[in-house]
């Protein structure tokens, strides 16, 4: 086997020796993409195609009717769908920015500053990465009730601020910044807060983008909060509204609307990820755990 060349990582060009990889990857990617393509197609199907048997995968006469129905249908609760969507957008924007701020501040402290609780907090956070939210719904409910957060808009925001895996990734990323840079700034008289804003933040943009994605996905797809903690219909989010469609949408006619709704849920995730994907890969290079 003298001419065995070894694995070529990140090849520059296409070579026919890569065919075997594509033979596995492409069918796999097709399998992954099919359900999503099916939603795309269904979302634009007119009513007669939704009822057609056998069901067609591809839409023949695309229409926006399903989206119009989705936006106009008066919900059973009297709250218009746009209100849910508006709530979701507001919540997502606030949570993304707030969690970026909170975890980068904490990440800087845990990575570069020396203080007493540091070790304990770091260990606790690393254990909490595996934390399964569903296992504490009950005590969480009691706490949220006692904090007066039931039916309060803040309940959408506060629990989303502490994302252990987000803090972990940001801290790992800040670890790469040379200490000399920070010490030099200190000698020049910069305070910790100056250093955070002027040195750390600009250097950790990839990690911030990653946290943005993680927290956006967490909050945008969340139905639990609206279901458990919010009784006031006008404070609930779009993801919750979608989950009520599930139960109504068993009839074929509802499929089009459900598909349109799924697209409204999915597209923002996709667009954000496409814009930020390079940053995510940069961050993931430092994601290693020891």
């Amino acid at each position: 086997m003298a001419n065995y060349q070894g694995t070529k990582i990140n090849p520059k060009n296409y070579h026919k020796s890569q065919i075997k990889f594509f033979l596995i990857l492409v069918p796999m990617a097709i399998f992954m993409a099919l359900p999503i393509l099916y939603i795309f197609s269904t979302a634009f199907k007119p009513i007669n195609e939704l009822f057609a048997w056998p069901p067609q995968f591809i839409v023949h006469e695309p229409t926006m009717k399903n989206f119009i129905n989705l936006f106009n249908q008066p919900s059973t609760t009297g709250v218009p769908m746009t209100r849910y969507l508006f709530n979701s957008i507001v919540v997502a924007i606030i949570v993304v920015f707030a969690s970026i701020f909170v975890s980068s501040l904490a990440g800087y402290a845990l990575s570069k500053l020396k203080f007493k609780l540091k070790k304990t907090l770091l260990t606790l956070n690393n254990v909490a990465i595996i934390f399964v939210g569903a296992s504490v719904v009950i005590p969480r409910y009691l706490i949220i009730e006692n904090l007066g957060l039931v039916d309060n808009f803040l309940v959408h925001i506060l629990p989303g601020l502490a994302i252990p895996v987000g803090l972990f990734l940001i801290k790992q990323f800040i670890d790469q910044i040379p200490n000399e840079l920070i010490e030099a700034a200190k000698i020049d008289g910069a305070s910790e807060i100056d250093i955070y804003f002027n040195i750390i933040l600009p250097l950790i943009k990839p990690a911030l983008a990653t946290i943005a994605i993680v927290s956006f996905q967490g909050v945008w797809n969340n139905t639990e909060i609206s279901t458990i903690y919010i009784h006031n219909e006008s404070l609930k989010t779009f993801a919750f509204y979608m989950s009520t469609l599930t139960t109504q949408a068993n009839a074929v006619a509802g499929q089009g609307m459900a598909a349109a709704g799924s697209l409204v849920m999915f597209i923002p995730n996709l667009v954000i990820f496409i814009f930020l994907q390079k940053n995510v890969m940069d961050t993931m290079a430092h994601s290693g755990m020891k």
Partner: protein, 306 residues
Amino acid sequence: MTEVKQKRSLTNKSKEEIAGHIFILPYALAFLAFITIPVIMGMFLSLTYFNLLEAPRFIFLSNYVTLFTADDVFMQQVIPNTIQFAFFVGPIGYMLGFFLAWLLAQVPHRARTILALVIYSPSMTAGVAMSVMWRIIFSGDEAGYLNAVLIQMSVIQEPIQWLTNPDYLMPVMIIVTLWSSMGIGFLAMLAGVLNINQELYEAAAIDGMSNKLQEIFYITIPSMKPQMLFGAVMSLVATFNAGSIGVQLSGQNPTPQNAGQLIVTHIDDYGFIRFDMGYAAAISVVLLIMVLIFNYAAHKLFGERD
């Protein structure tokens, strides 16, 4: 001179101490309120009888005794279901993620970006958006997409009740969860494979390494252990957080004949349907302990031993 210097470094130190605590404060508060305290409270509640109406009554370990000796659904269905589900979604999904990352690292940049995006994209749809669609695809009548396709191809004659037939619910749950499980753990492993120094492979080839399998075990995995660990932890989290998928798909809790009942859904069943909060908390504690054990095992396997 030296005295002044010392003084200054002292004040700098205490300044740093104060800044550190202030910077960590907002995160620590949220962490304490929504993670730490709930876990501690859950442990306490698990020792009580609590139905939300009366004050919790201390009953010591009796919830645990009931759970392990008298809860037939738990021992005979929930635990086997969870093990089966966790095995396929956890280790199998993890190996699949690594394998795909390894393949992707060996194709050129542009093709890799597109394929990785497609493989990653299902994980963004987690939860509700997709379960709506899966219910249409797996719908039990002949208008359900999968049934229609299979009937047309004459694979089946009668439509199959994918989501309400206990024989099919679990496989469907596993496939759907695997489909959406190539998340940030997968991306981390991809980054890990890509960052391995090419010279290692070249040197190994000269030293007589003769196939890809050897390379994977002697070079690839050892060189990216930290990412392997991160990926393992992420797939652990994904496995146990996906617990309510059976309820989402079948639209019922408990799932038909408990076929898709996992620990997480068992907690919801007791907590939010039967209002036996103490008992639900006891199940939660068991779940947390299980996750901790798996986490420990992952760290043993890939962590740095020092």
